[in-house]
């Protein structure tokens, strides 16, 4: 065998710490190694050229690249091999950066470790066999999960390219959290004015099949060929027949006493309701857990009487629909952190304390107060807005929620505009990083007070007579240190608005389990590379919007369209190449015991009859090459193409 070893300096990343000359000398002494070269950046064009030349001139048949993690450049170097006429799997990456130079403090010992890593890669690569990639056709349809602004943007872009989209939304309407807002920063556009045309476009686009009040319950298959089950819950009103006249809602004899989820529980609705007037589909929904017909079976059913379209149908039942798609876009969005966890802020205890989303609903002209800011029945004269509620807090959520600074400034501006109240913003660090944001911050500074300091406590217990009078007026006292003045203050406020952390939507964990993808330490979907593949979660599965991490509307839309682009690119190519690094069954040895079937996380194995004998069979288009089956097989009948026992043994022995 003729092995070439290529050692990358990676600038100072490797060469600044390991003794490259020593590594070269060492690699030259290894059996079967015919050439060793080092270069500043092996992944660069000239670096690749070195390998290409050598393969041709020195007739190499195996290549080891000692460089960074295979996650980064294995694909690059495999391509170099295949362009030079060598099977791409005759390559092994020796990771001397992430697993060596970056993580050690003793240069001499680290160089010794790097030698072993290179030696084991050389021994391993000699056992590699030629593997061929397989092509699989991509089903030209896309599933989008979540109908907020991210899901809507992704769906529209894909559908406009002529590709069919299934858009699944858990709530009765699409629009997501953005539909709750009054205005958006920094332009102060009316949220509904820019969102509702997009919602209507979804409804009208023939390429989009919309499932509201629905959930994804099962996903099988892999990139290019996903089989998806969608649970469609009954709405009890026929969407096609309904004209959205709202007569049914008006006629329902139930008083509107049920806290509305859409109105963040500050508004009330009936058991039959439409979340907001521009909802899509523009059809009310009946909640069977609240409707008198379902609970008592004794209801005059006025709704049915008044409906001229005959759209009310109490017989509707839940159904499961199965669809097949080539790619999946996750756009499940966010929910707010529950600030009642922070007992010192008294959310839920004081009538003066609201979340930012509740105030968005108050400001909205279609909201429960018709756009008026009301606390205890009157307009507030002094309002506090508290940033970083639960965000950047070791006790609750450690990360920055990214949008709170800006929406808090926006709320400050809107409240000032509507009520002329005295508004205070309490911040720790002001993060106004986006285009036009700093300018917006500057203009808001002219109308509100901005205090650097975290609110320590919100209380209704007075310390003196002045405070007692204020509390009796229905105010609460906000305790904080103005850290720039170095002074502790207690100021009475009519209204306190908390800007809570953004956290993943309910059901995110469950969806990750269904899709077999991983979440990051904060519970958001984990992208495979934060910079270079920020929308890719797994082959054929893309993420966008707040499901990937807190972000504002412009970033959500940009990322949604990026995810749509990823899906369209795949569909336009028409096929995907499957890694041949899968498991396979040695039918001679297989006893058909079936131990491997339940351990496969991808449901790729079944037990079938082959010439009268039961044998395990692996569907290689589903196999992701994790190797669990190979490890579990009692008769060692399952093997992994790139991890044969001999290969692993050679690798380990040469490491020791």
């Amino acid at each position: 065998m003729r092995v070439g070893v290529y050692i990358c300096h990676c600038g100072f990343n490797i060469a600044g710490f390991l003794d490259i000359d020593e590594l070269v000398r060492y690699a030259e002494s290894l059996n079967d190694v015919v050439i060793v070269r080092d270069y500043r950046f092996m992944c660069s064009n000239p670096g690749q050229e070195l390998i290409r030349d050598d393969i041709e001139k020195l007739n190499l048949d195996r290549v080891v690249v000692a460089a960074c993690s295979p996650n980064l450049h294995e694909a690059t170097f495999r391509r170099v091999l295949s362009e030079s006429g060598l099977n791409p799997f005759f390559l092994q990456i020796a990771n001397i950066r992430e697993q060596c130079s970056w993580v050690h403090s003793d240069k001499v010992k680290a160089t010794e470790k790097a030698k072993r890593i290179i030696r084991s890669a050389v021994e391993r690569v000699k056992h590699h066999t030629a593997l061929e990639s397989k092509r699989v056709n991509v089903i030209p349809r896309v599933l989008v999960i979540g109908g907020g602004i991210a899901g809507i943007s992704a769906s529209l872009l894909i559908a406009e390219a002529g590709v069919e989209v299934y858009l699944v939304e858990r709530e009765p309407t699409i629009g997501g959290n953005m539909a709750k807002f009054d205005k958006v920063f920094p332009t102060l556009d009316c949220a509904a004015c820019i969102l509702t045309p997009k919602m209507t476009a979804v409804k009208e686009n023939p390429n989009i099949k919309l499932y509201t009040n629905s959930e994804v319950v099962e996903v099988r298959g892999s990139v290019g060929n996903f089989k998806v089950k969608i649970r469609v819950k009954p709405r009890f009103i026929d969407e096609d027949a309904c004209t959205g006249c709202m007569e049914c809602v008006d006629s329902c004899l139930y008083y509107p006493t049920i806290p509305s989820k859409f109105d963040e529980k500050i508004g009330f609705r009936k058991p039959i309701y439409m979340p907001f007037p521009q909802a899509i589909p523009n059809t009310p929904i009946i909640n069977p857990d609240e409707c008198l017909y379902f609970i008592t079976n004794k209801c005059p059913m006025y709704c049915e009487d008044v409906c001229e379209a005959d759209a009310i149908n109490f017989e509707q039942e839940e159904r499961i629909e199965e669809v097949e798609v080539g790619a999946i876009v996750i756009a499940t969005g966010y929910k707010l952190f529950d600030p009642s966890e922070i007992s010192e802020y008294g959310y839920g205890r004081y009538k003066n304390v609201f979340t930012a989303l509740q105030v968005e609903r108050m400001l909205n002209s279609t909201g429960p107060t018709g756009g008026r800011i009301v606390v205890n029945g009157r307009e507030p004269e002094r309002v506090a807005i508290v940033h970083c509620v639960g965000s950047r807090d070791e006790r609750y959520r450690r990360y920055c929620s990214r949008v709170c600074c800006m929406y808090s400034l926006k709320l400050a501006h809107l409240i000032k505009e509507r009520t002329n109240a005295e508004v205070y913003n309490f911040y720790i660090d002001m993060r106004a990083f986006g285009k036009g944001y700093e300018e917006f911050y500057r203009s808001v500074l002219e109308e509100v007070k901005v205090v650097r300091g975290k609110v320590a406590e919100i209380t209704d217990i007075p310390m003196n007579d002045d405070e007692r009078r204020e509390v009796e007026r229905g105010r609460v006292i906000v305790v904080f240190e103005d850290t720039l003045l170095g002074r502790v203050e207690r100021i009475p406020f009519d209204m306190v608005i908390l800007s809570p952390a953004i956290e993943p939507s309910d059901g995110t964990k469950e969806l990750a389990r269904i899709l077999k993808v991983s979440l990051d330490e904060n519970g958001f979907f984990r992208e495979i590379h934060p910079k270079l593949a920020p929308t890719v979660v797994a082959p054929g599965i893309f993420v966008c919007g707040c499901a990937q991490g807190p972000k504002d509307i412009q970033d959500s839309v940009a990322q949604a369209e990026s995810a749509a682009g990823q899906a369209l690119s795949m569909i336009n190519r028409g096929f995907v190449e499957l890694e041949p690094t899968t498991a396979y069954v040695d039918e001679e040895k297989c006893s058909g015991c079936g131990m491997c079937v339940p351990v496969c996380p991808f449901q790729a194995i079944e037990v079938v009859s082959v010439n009268g004998h039961v044998r395990a069979r692996i569907d290689e288009s589903l196999c992701m090459g994790c190797g669990v089956c190979a490890a579990s097989c009692p008769s060692r009948a399952i093997r992994h193409r790139l991890f044969e026992s001999e290969t692993i043994r050679a690798e380990i022995l040469s490491l020791l």
């Binding site: 950047r392 070791e394 006790r395 720790i428 406590e457």
Partner: protein, 372 residues
């Protein structure tokens, strides 16, 4: 004078968590005794390594309330302790703390009573000492419970209960020293090491393996600094109430509110044990003050202030008594001799009918129908 610390000095006096602070001011705003100049501002100084003489640091009672409210796990109370260590090292300690340290150094108690008198409280009681019997448990009585007339009654009651329950215990008498808990909290690490060494010698001489104590201060340092097996007397009492060995027969028809000791609560997470004991007393109605459990405020007796009294403008003991009066309590129950001394004094100074009683006082009354 501004002194920028060298790196080695900073390593010596820094602590993990200092760099996490984002200067939000929660600690300063929540501190009941802060004049606005600490802890937040001092953490910024410490982080810079700019150490001036900060007299305000001695207003800090090391009660850890700020730690509970810190969003960054910075532990501002540790920053205060660190600054105190630097002051002690530089010899700039205010007189009232100096007196405390001198008393502990010379006589092994905060008040400067004669060491010879440590065993005097048991003159007329039948209390076994380590010299004259075999024992399972060492009862470490503690300075306050040995010397201070305001809590001697509690000590006597504990002795009677221990005898009655036939616990195999003994006390050290004259050989008992100071546990050093508060010495450590105010940063006199040298003296603390000395006390600890001395105590370990005594424990070894008499074969002490396990300790019971009623003082949360002793309990804290034995548990967390000495790492020796230690049990609270209240834990013992709780066990015996539960298994029926202690019968609470007599009614105590009073509205009682319980004041959490910092060293039981925030230092050792013991919030419910004293409350459960109080709830098992027949007739007793337990109410909570507005700051309770992890948000409870200090009595003002911590960090060396027990000897001369707290020197700050705001007396936390008076705030506490007012809180108890706000919930119409007849009795303010405590589980720490320092709390009892401080709060009793405060209750007298605001001239109210609030009685300050130890949990042991209440249990004793319920057992024997006397002693109040």
């Amino acid at each position: 004078m501004v002194e920028v610390l060298s790196e080695s000095y900073q390593n010596k006096f820094g602590y993990e968590g200092l760099t996490r602070c984002y200067q939000c001011g929660n600690c300063t705003a929540i501190c009941p005794v802060s004049d606005g100049r600490f802890p937040r501002r001092l953490i910024a100084h410490l982080r810079w390594g700019r150490i001036e003489r900060f007299d305000e640091v001695w207003l800090c009672l090391q009660c850890k309330l700020c730690d509970e409210f810190c969003p960054r796990d910075t532990n501002p109370s540790l920053a205060m302790q660190t600054l105190k260590r630097i002051s002690v090292e530089n010899g700039s300690v205010p007189p009232h703390i100096g007196e405390f340290l001198m008393n502990v150094y010379r006589r092994r108690n905060p008040w400067g009573h004669s060491r010879m008198k440590r065993g005097e409280w048991m003159k007329d009681l039948n209390v076994p000492t380590v010299k004259d019997c075999e024992f399972d448990w060492l009862w470490f009585v503690g300075c306050a419970n040995s010397f201070d007339s305001r809590v001697l009654g509690v000590t006597e009651k504990i002795a009677r209960i221990l005898n009655e329950l036939e616990i195999s215990y003994a006390v050290l008498g004259r050989d008992e020293g100071c546990c050093g808990n508060d010495v450590k909290r105010i940063g006199e690490d040298g003296l603390f090491e000395l006390l600890m060494e001395e105590n370990f010698k005594v424990f070894k001489r008499y074969g002490v393996e396990r300790i019971i104590t009623h003082s949360p201060h002793c309990y804290n340092t034995f548990k967390n600094d000495y790492n020796i097996e230690v049990k609270l007397f209240l834990e013992l009492l709780h066990d015996f109430i539960n298994d029926g060995s202690v019968e609470l027969k007599h009614e105590f028809k009073k509205v009682v509110t319980y004041h959490d000791s910092c060293f039981l609560g925030r230092y050792n997470n013991i919030y419910e044990l004293p409350r459960e004991i109080l709830r098992s007393v027949p007739g007793l109605k337990l109410v909570e003050m507005r700051s309770n459990r992890r948000t409870s405020i200090c009595c003002g007796g911590g960090a060396g202030n027990i000897a001369v009294g707290y020197q700050g403008k705001v007396q936390p003991s008076i705030l506490r008594v007012k809180e108890a009066l706000d919930v119409n309590a007849d009795v303010l129950a405590v589980a720490c001799p320092f709390c009892k001394i401080m709060l009793e004094e405060a209750s007298k100074s605001v001239n109210c009918n609030l009685k300050v009683l130890d949990v042991v006082d209440i249990v004793y009354h319920s057992m024997y129908g006397e002693g109040l």
